[in-house]
């Protein structure tokens, strides 16, 4: 059980290291604007292929990259109904305070439990390795069922 978690997290870490090559890029559609291209998706040439990493049917991670932004969406495993409610409440608590985390997205992407949006501005202010560590430790924390009742 633990070994698949290690592999899953290593895979995500390596993908993030390759995906987090972001640069400042002004909007091609609207003058004087600078928007995260992964959210807008107006220029298909600026988007890279999304990568879906699945641990099993219930746990997966979608990494979508563009030239100036990166979106990571996680679906965490919920064994039963109660855990489903707990997870939803906990992640909603975090998402509503997304401003404090800077890289968290207020609403998760459709079909996932929580999403992160990392832009080139985050990469300028914060170190890339530490950002990746943060995301991976976040996932590890969930996988360790930190908030589980047992």
């Amino acid at each position: 059980m633990a070994s698949t978690l290690r592999l899953y997290l290593t895979c995500i870490r390596n993908t993030l290291e390759a995906a987090m090559c972001l640069q400042n890029f002004p909007c091609q559609e609207v003058e004087r604007h600078n928007k995260p291209e992964v959210e807008l998706k107006t220029s298909p040439e600026l988007l890279l292929n999304p990568v879906l990493i699945c641990r099993n049917e219930a746990e997966k991670c979608l990494i979508e990259t563009s030239i100036n932004s990166l979106r990571i969406s996680l679906k965490v495993k919920q064994a039963d109904e109660l855990e489903n409610i707990l997870a939803k409440k906990f992640l909603r608590f975090l998402s509503m305070r997304a401003e404090a985390f800077q890289v968290l997205r207020r609403k998760p992407v459709q079909g996932y439990d929580i999403s992160f949006l990392i832009t080139n501005y985050h990469c300028e202010e914060l170190q890339k390795q530490k950002l990746i560590d943060f995301i991976v430790q976040f996932m590890e924390m969930h996988s360790l069922k930190y908030f589980r009742r047992t």
Binding site: T10, Q23, R32, E45, L126, Q127, D133
Partner: protein, 377 residues
């Protein structure tokens, strides 16, 4: 150690350019200003701040002979700065852009400069004496996406561009009245402005950082798919070499000689590429010391600890008017290197160049004491 000097100027540097005598450096500290620092008694002092742009300055170039600075910004404007006494006086350039300008380069004769933009166009500007301003001619409808980088051929006519549509194109920028038509050149001269000479579709991802070799025979550019492309014989049948490497993508390249190219990018370490006697290009080695990759995540860490890790980043001390040159540390750049510039003193044998990056440092590298690279210089 190839890095001879490291200077921390700001939190993040977008681009930089050196004065003709290499005593002053102009850079943009990730805002709408251009800062010029001068080396005085082994200390860097801020001598000028050029404030005219409204948004981030994305490109700066300092002409070698005429001592003019051209700056372009995301606010679609460009200014040519002339030194008049102690001040730098800006002259507006009518670019006629409706999107951000991304890069700028003076031509070898410094009578023109080219600007790549997010409007999928390239503006080539020249000075009109009668009206005392800079006018632009625009190359339209030739690019499918933003133009990320431009480079002039030594003949002052050919211009190579790279774009986020993955292609590298070479255009003729002959302007009547500015360029002289050489009657001796054969069929390779295409004097019409904006005519596309060749389109190179080698990369499956975005293309950046195009440069010509000193003689103009070879063209090099990088793709975001971690590849660097070398093209000889630009014309109807170009000869291209693709060199793939197993590291993070590059952002910019520089020809230090006919046979050696330095690539810089997301690995924070300059990469040396060289051509052997038969003309085959390959990756030689990294210039700086390789950074150790971080170990895997530690198990059982508390959420607040992870939170704390994220915010324990040292925000570098900034806006100092005097900056002490710091001692050389192990891994030189901490963040992506996005700009590389040649620093050769005329007549000098040693090859020097400088890099600047998102960590706000400008690092000067010297290839003089790298014994294994001497054969390529």
């Amino acid at each position: 150690m190839a890095a001879v000097a490291v200077h921390q100027f700001a939190q993040c540097i977008t681009c930089h350019a050196w004065s003709p005598d290499h005593s002053m450096v102009a850079f943009c500290p990730n805002n709408n200003e251009v800062h010029i620092y001068k080396l005085v008694n082994d200390k860097w002092e801020k001598v000028h701040v050029l404030q005219k742009h409204d948004q981030i300055v994305s490109g700066i170039d300092w002409s070698g002979k005429s001592n003019r600075i051209v700056s372009v910004s995301h606010d679609r404007n460009s200014y040519v700065w002339n030194r008049e006494g102690p001040e730098w006086v800006p002259t507006l350039v009518i670019l006629r852009l409706n999107r951000a300008a991304l890069c700028v380069r003076w031509s070898p004769k410094e009578n023109k400069f080219a600007v790549g933009s997010g409007a999928k166009t390239v503006c080539v500007c020249y000075y009109e004496q009668e009206n005392n301003w800079w006018v632009s001619k625009v190359i339209r409808k030739k690019h499918d996406s933003s133009v990320t980088s431009v480079a002039w051929h030594p003949n002052n006519i050919l211009l190579a561009t790279t774009s986020t549509d993955g292609k590298c194109r070479v255009f003729s920028t002959f302007i009547k009245g500015v360029d002289t038509r050489e009657s001796k050149t054969g069929s390779s001269s295409d004097p019409k402005f904006g005519e596309q000479i060749v389109q190179l579709d080698l990369s499956s991802s975005w293309a950046f950082g195009v440069k010509w070799s000193p003689s103009g025979n070879t063209l090099a550019y990088v793709g975001h798919n971690s590849m660097i492309y070398f093209v000889d014989d630009i014309g109807p049948s170009p000869l291209a070499q693709n060199v793939a490497f197993c590291n993070l993508p590059l952002r910019d390249v520089l020809f230090v000689s006919e046979k050696m190219v330095i690539g810089v990018g997301f690995d924070c370490n300059p990469m040396v590429f060289a051509a052997d006697k038969s003309g085959l290009w390959s990756f030689i080695r990294f210039l700086g010391e390789k950074k150790e990759s971080l170990s895997g995540p530690k198990s059982g860490s508390q959420f607040s600890e992870a939170f704390g890790k994220l915010y324990a980043q040292a925000k570098h001390g900034l806006s100092n008017d005097t900056v002490e040159p710091s001692k050389i540390q192990g891994a030189v750049h901490d963040n992506c290197i996005n700009c590389i510039a040649l620093l050769n003193k005329k007549g000098s044998q040693t090859k020097r160049f400088s890099t600047s990056g998102m960590d706000g440092k400008v690092v000067i590298w010297d290839l003089g004491n790298q014994q294994d690279l001497k054969e390529y210089l």
